[in-house]
């Protein structure tokens, strides 16, 4: 079964062999390849390259193409401010002082739509058989607030008819975005509506529910899956969201996912979430993230209607090794439990002799790995080391250490290796989590030959 098929099973509400796993790598995708956020969201080559690396390193079941809620706003005339290490943000609201309903439609030629389409096509061709593609667009409520600014909240009391009309317009744009994704063969169509969490169930039902019902019915009629992404404390809206008819919803760490899952289950809707973005992913270490994944999986204790995913779009500079650790928790849950135990056990160290790095006969390339049989990033790291052995032959030594046996664990600790996988040359760390490209690695080894 492919990863994509596993995710589809989950979205069909069937029990899966393991929990499904979706990364939320928006601008973080660029970080992996060393591109800034503004570079990766404006250059299809860089975006495709980055997304393929997300797929290669994290092995998700669902791959998000572009996590940019400003794309449509930009097309509709909002001023966009670009950032190097976060998604762009909307700086002006064209309807702020001008209460009209726009007529502009979104076409394939508008704004950065050519980039979206090209990315979808190339990713589909490269890995689309293996991994489900997620096509995101700005949900109608958030888009309406982009256009109208804060006044949109006031309008709900003062000008409800206008809110209905603007929501209908934004939902229609959502349908146009969905259709473009559907035509490009994208598998899961996702309105992302973070601002929704700020309204009451009454307002949700009055203004938001109906446009969403139309949207999700439309996606279902096209034989595609859907998901409804929100951010913030949407605890009070889980049931109303389910009633709009998505195949899944996604929530962040502000919501108790266990409680939310019970509600979703009653409506036969899958739920995705909610690994803490900052405390675990951004600032935690590998152990924290393995534990966060394992703890969540164990607490949920179900393989039906549940997708492990970060709570929202991951911060740009989320350490790659942390996401690798999280992916391990999902893809190899039992082995990761052991690894967590190994990390936590302080008394299993045995004496290991480290090489005399100052007096080596020839360069020594050491790969410190989690478990290359299970961890994709470790497999690639080890493959890089093996390629060097092929290239240099007997002129260098290459060794691997796996974090699944006591001597190797002890060695990893004694070397104070902070992240796995890592590559060390003559006792010095040269690559951590990022897989080297062969030319660079050859050059580094040649320098110490």
């Amino acid at each position: 079964m492919t990863r994509k098929e596993l995710l589809f099973k989950c979205l069909r509400h069937e029990e899966t062999e393991r929990n499904a796993w979706v990364t939320m790598a928006g601008v973080h995708a660029g970080f992996i390849k060393g591109y800034t956020a503004d570079e990766v969201y404006q250059d299809a080559d860089k975006l495709v390259e980055s997304l393929l690396e997300v797929d290669r390193l994290y092995r998700p079941d669902g791959l998000i193409l572009l996590f940019d809620l400003q794309l449509e706003a930009e097309i509709l005339g909002c001023t966009i401010k670009w950032e190097h290490n976060s998604p762009p943000c909307v700086r002006s609201h064209p309807l702020e002082e001008n209460m009209v309903i726009p007529t502009k439609k979104i076409t394939r030629e508008d704004g950065r739509m050519p980039l979206v389409i090209e990315t979808a096509r190339r990713i589909k061709a490269a890995v689309g058989d293996e991994v489900a593609l997620y096509g995101l667009f700005c949900g109608p409520y958030t888009l309406a607030s982009h256009l109208r600014g804060t006044n949109f909240f006031r309008d709900m009391r003062k000008h409800p008819e206008y809110v209905h009309e603007l929501m209908a317009y934004c939902a229609e744009l959502g349908t146009q975005m969905a259709d473009i994704y559907i035509e490009e063969g994208v598998d899961v169509i996702v309105p992302v509506d973070p601002v929704v969490s700020q309204v009451s169930p009454k307002h949700f039902n009055e203004f938001i529910a109906a446009p969403y019902k139309i949207l999700f019915d439309h996606i279902r009629a096209a034989n595609r899956f859907s998901s409804f992404f929100v951010c913030g404390n949407a605890t009070h809206l889980i049931e109303p969201m389910c009633l709009t008819g998505p195949d899944s919803v996604a929530i962040d760490e502000n919501v108790d996912i266990k409680v939310a899952h019970e509600i979703c289950d009653r409506h036969n809707v899958a739920i995705g979430g909610n690994i803490p973005l900052t405390t675990a992913l951004l600032l935690g270490n590998q152990l924290d993230n393995m534990k966060a994944g394992i703890d969540l999986i164990d607490r949920m204790n179900t393989k039906r209607n549940f997708i492990v995913q970060p709570g929202c779009d991951m911060p740009y500079a989320t350490p790659v090794e942390n996401v690798i650790a999280l992916s391990q928790a999902v893809l190899n849950t039992d082995k990761t439990r052991e690894l967590v135990a190994n990390y936590e056990m302080t008394d299993l160290d045995v004496d290991v002799d480290l090489p005399d790095y100052e007096h080596l006969e020839k360069p020594l390339l050491e790969a410190f790995l989690l478990d290359p049989d299970a961890c994709a990033a470790c497999t690639y790291m080890w493959a890089s080391a093996c390629d060097m052995k092929k290239h240099f032959g007997d002129r260098i030594d290459v060794v691997e250490y796996r974090y699944n046996n006591i001597p190797d664990i002890s060695r990893t600790r004694k070397m104070a290796v902070a992240q796995l996988p890592s590559l060390y040359l003559n006792g010095k760390m040269i690559y951590s989590s990022i897989i080297p490209n062969p030319e660079d690695l050859i050059k580094q080894i040649e320098e110490v030959l």
């Binding site: 928006g26 601008v27 401010k81 950032e83 290490n85 976060s86 998604p87 943000c89 909307v90 700086r91 804060t150 909240f153 006031r154 709900m156 009391r157 973070p194 969490s197 700020q198 309204v199 009451s200 307002h203 951010c231 913030g232 404390n233 605890t235 009070h236 962040d252 760490e253 502000n254 803490p276 973005l277 900052t278 405390t279 951004l282 600032l283 709570g311 929202c312 779009d313 991951m314 911060p315 740009y316 500079a317």
Partner: protein, 214 residues
């Protein structure tokens, strides 16, 4: 119902026109402006507690804040006279901003309003403010508290950046740094070494008083 009760009712209901009208009546009837503003502040706090309990939501609080501001404007000339007469009592200065890359200002503005209501001298620096600019403004203003808001998961690292910059400049001990915003958590606050976190504008007042030992 008295004019001041009607004023309170208008703030709770989020009716800015009514708040302005009843504030004018209060002035005409010689109601103590400080008392009237306190009543409006209490109304806003009451609504804030309902917001904490998820009994009311952002649109309702935003409208109530508008109503508060409409009433406050009417009382401002009277208040200015009162402040002149009480010039010796110095207010604690605070700055507040939404961090770089994040243009969301609603929550931050509510905190600014609640801090004003609570008696702080608030300088609202706006949204999408560079970390260095926040620190400079705090220095220039003579603030004791720096409030940092961030809504997006991708921008909250800038809250840490401000704290890191303060430490690098040897200024960390000079300020209490309070953070908040949709994607933030108390764990995050602790992890980055913030002095306090609040989930909403009402709690922000409690936290500010607490960190200052007031």
């Amino acid at each position: 119902m008295s004019a001041i009760d009607e004023l309170r009712k208008a703030v709770i209901a989020g009716e800015d026109d009514a708040a302005q009208e009843w504030a004018q009546k209060c002035v005409a009837e010689g109601v103590n402006p400080m008392e009237a503003v306190n009543v409006m502040g209490d109304a806003l706090r009451e609504l804030g507690i309902q917001f904490q309990n998820m009994e009311v939501f952002l649109p309702e609080v935003l409208l109530a804040t508008d109503a508060f501001k409409a009433g406050l404007k009417v009382f401002e000339p009277e208040l200015a006279k009162a402040v002149q007469g009480d010039a010796k009592k110095e207010k604690v200065k605070v700055v507040i901003a939404t961090v770089k890359g994040d243009v969301h200002a609603v929550g931050k503005d509510m905190v600014a309003t609640m801090w004003t209501v609570a008696g702080f001298d608030v300088k609202n620096l706006g949204a999408d403010v560079d970390s260095e600019a926040i620190i400079k403004a705090a220095e220039d203003f003579g603030a004791k508290i720096i409030g940092l808001s961030a809504l997006m998961s991708t921008t909250i690292p800038h809250q840490k950046e401000v704290i890191d910059f303060l430490e690098a400049k040897g200024l960390r001990d000079k300020y209490k740094v309070l953070i908040g915003g949709g994607s933030t958590t108390p764990q995050w606050a602790e992890q980055i070494g913030a002095d306090g976190w609040s989930k909403d504008a009402v709690e922000a007042v409690e936290v500010a008083n607490r960190v200052l030992g007031l």
